[in-house]
Amino acid sequence: MRTFHPVESYSSSQAGYRLLPFRFLRLDDGAEVFVNEVGEFVLAPKGTARTLIQKQLPRSSDLYATFKAKQFIADDSSSPLLDLLATKYRTKYSFMEGSTKLHIFVVTLRCDHSCHYCQVSRQTADKISYDMSLETAAQSVELMMKSPARHLTLEFQGGESLLAFDVIRYIVPLAKKKAEALHKELEIVVCTNLSNITDDILLYLRDENIMVSTSLDGPAFLHNANRPRPGNNSYELTIKNIDRARKTLGVGRVAALMTTTQLSLQHPKEIIDEYVRQGFHSIFLRPISPYGFAVKSKEKTGYQFDAFLDFYRTGLAHIIEINRKGYDLSEAYSKILLTKILTPYGTGHVNLQSPDGAGLSVLVYNFDGDVYATDESRMLAEMGDHTFRLGNVRTHTHRDIFTGEPFLNLLSSACNQSLAGCSDCAFQTYCGSDSVFNHTTQGDLYGHRPTSDFCRRNMEIIKHLFTLISARDPEIMRIFLAWIQNSGLREISKRAPS
């Protein structure tokens, strides 16, 4: 007969233990958070770091078992599980496979809005100067298809992209045909303020299976203040046309993004309630970008950093309350971070990944054929700074772009694993590197962490999420689980009753 050994035979001997790679940080309440190379974490009381690292953690303690099980330490009864750690590492960074997946086509700079935070748009009827030519479009598609990624996303942006609908109609069949020939999957998204949408365009988007991403900054007073247009009716047009688009394309095919301004900062609850009122189940509490006209009009959009954190924390608390009351609503930034914290997977969010997503995860094809590393890079270019212009579709091959000096410079600071201040940060696996942001706000690609808004913002937000996680509220954990599984709270609750 076979039986298990008695439990004592599995306990560790009195010999010492070895440390495996991990990093730690203190939370504001004194608790300590430990994160290993693959993003697994342990929350422990104050003083644990010293005890653990000085090899004084009692073998009989629960913490010892936890640290051992999560591969923070190893002792003589640990199996040689480095391959398992390596596999977890590979899983965490699997978003790197295939390189550039998101390809943004700026089909026109023309727009009917005059948002003060917008970096690039032009109010003009001049199609020749500010629309992408068909020749540039074809060359851009050609370059995009050189990306090794099997799954590509083609995103149309502007200006107001639908003002160049003829260019979109030229690109879509061309891209589809080439993707099919190369056995690549292709998803197409059009970013539009919807103000010029017609039934014909909607039917076209439906037939071509194209998703719509629109802008909704909040209730009417806020949206119209942020997004001026002739008639001051942007909100009314947007709401009416979201409804039309949903009827034709389906509710799940229309998404909305908000831009945060100084005015928005005073109204987190009103913005969130507007998203609920309009039937959205996701909202992205985005910080304002420090680019383009947003920098020029600092009086209007410049705001204290702390005000954004208050906005985010108040907003997140309100969103959690809304979920508690039975309406499923996720917050996109938290969802990205929680996926990294609570699952074995990483996420390739361009502005929150290491290696930096600039070029590696996204390329932007401007109307004039210039290729930029990120959307923010072309906004910088509009301000006269062409640092991140990687090439031009007419003169540069895929190889030229990825071996050219601008991209290689970007790569030199792309990994937070090797940046001062990041290399020993506990949140390294969850955070990212943003060289374009560093360049814009601090004047060099490498950046200075102690004064970096990118660092401070992510540090504070991740700490806040850990504070929520450490509260061990089962309902909050179910809400977070629902977000990262793209599922409803009721389905999660059914699976794991408290």
Binding site: R2, T3, R23, A49, R50, L82, L85, R90
Partner: protein, 149 residues
């Protein structure tokens, strides 16, 4: 004012500046430099060569009075206290890095190597899945196979 503890001595040069002397047997140069880096947002920090065997850090606070943006600037005493606390943490971090660097390199090499090249064989023997031949294996044989069960 001079204050000190084991391996640590601090002297306020003025209301806004101080000199810290650290014992290199307790605090590594690397941990000190990393601590200095994180405090460069609030102070100008200088780490000069020292004639004695101590590691010396000169600190000058950047903000010398209240402003609208920061009405309560940190005092030199508070700064030195915070500096020393974070120095302890950075010394611990350095110890972890020093001890685990080879394992970390191995894990990364395994993670990004071609499949199979750097993989270890799984523990145990394929022909003996329950490790009957291994007395410390997962299960043990305590008597002859029971035909009836």
């Amino acid at each position: 004012m001079i204050s000190g503890a084991e391996g640590f001595q601090s002297e306020s040069d003025s209301e806004f500046s101080a000199t810290i002397r650290l014992d290199p047997r307790i605090y590594s140069r690397e941990a000190i430099l990393r601590t200095c880096y994180w405090h460069t947002s609030t102070a100008h920090i200088h780490v000069p060569e020292s004639p004695d065997d101590k590691l010396v850090v000169h600190i000058k606070l950047k903000q010398r009075g209240p402003t609208l943006a920061n009405p309560k600037p940190v005092s030199i005493e508070e700064f030195v206290g915070e500096f020393c606390n974070s120095l302890l943490d950075f010394e611990l971090r350095r110890q972890v890095e020093a001890e685990t660097a080879p394992v970390r390199q191995l894990v990364l090499a395994k993670a990004f190597s071609e499949s199979g090249v750097l993989e270890d064989d799984p523990p145990g023997t394929v022909a003996d899945p329950v490790e009957t031949a291994n007395p410390r294996g997962l299960v043990q044989i305590i008597n002859a196979p029971d035909e009836g069960s």
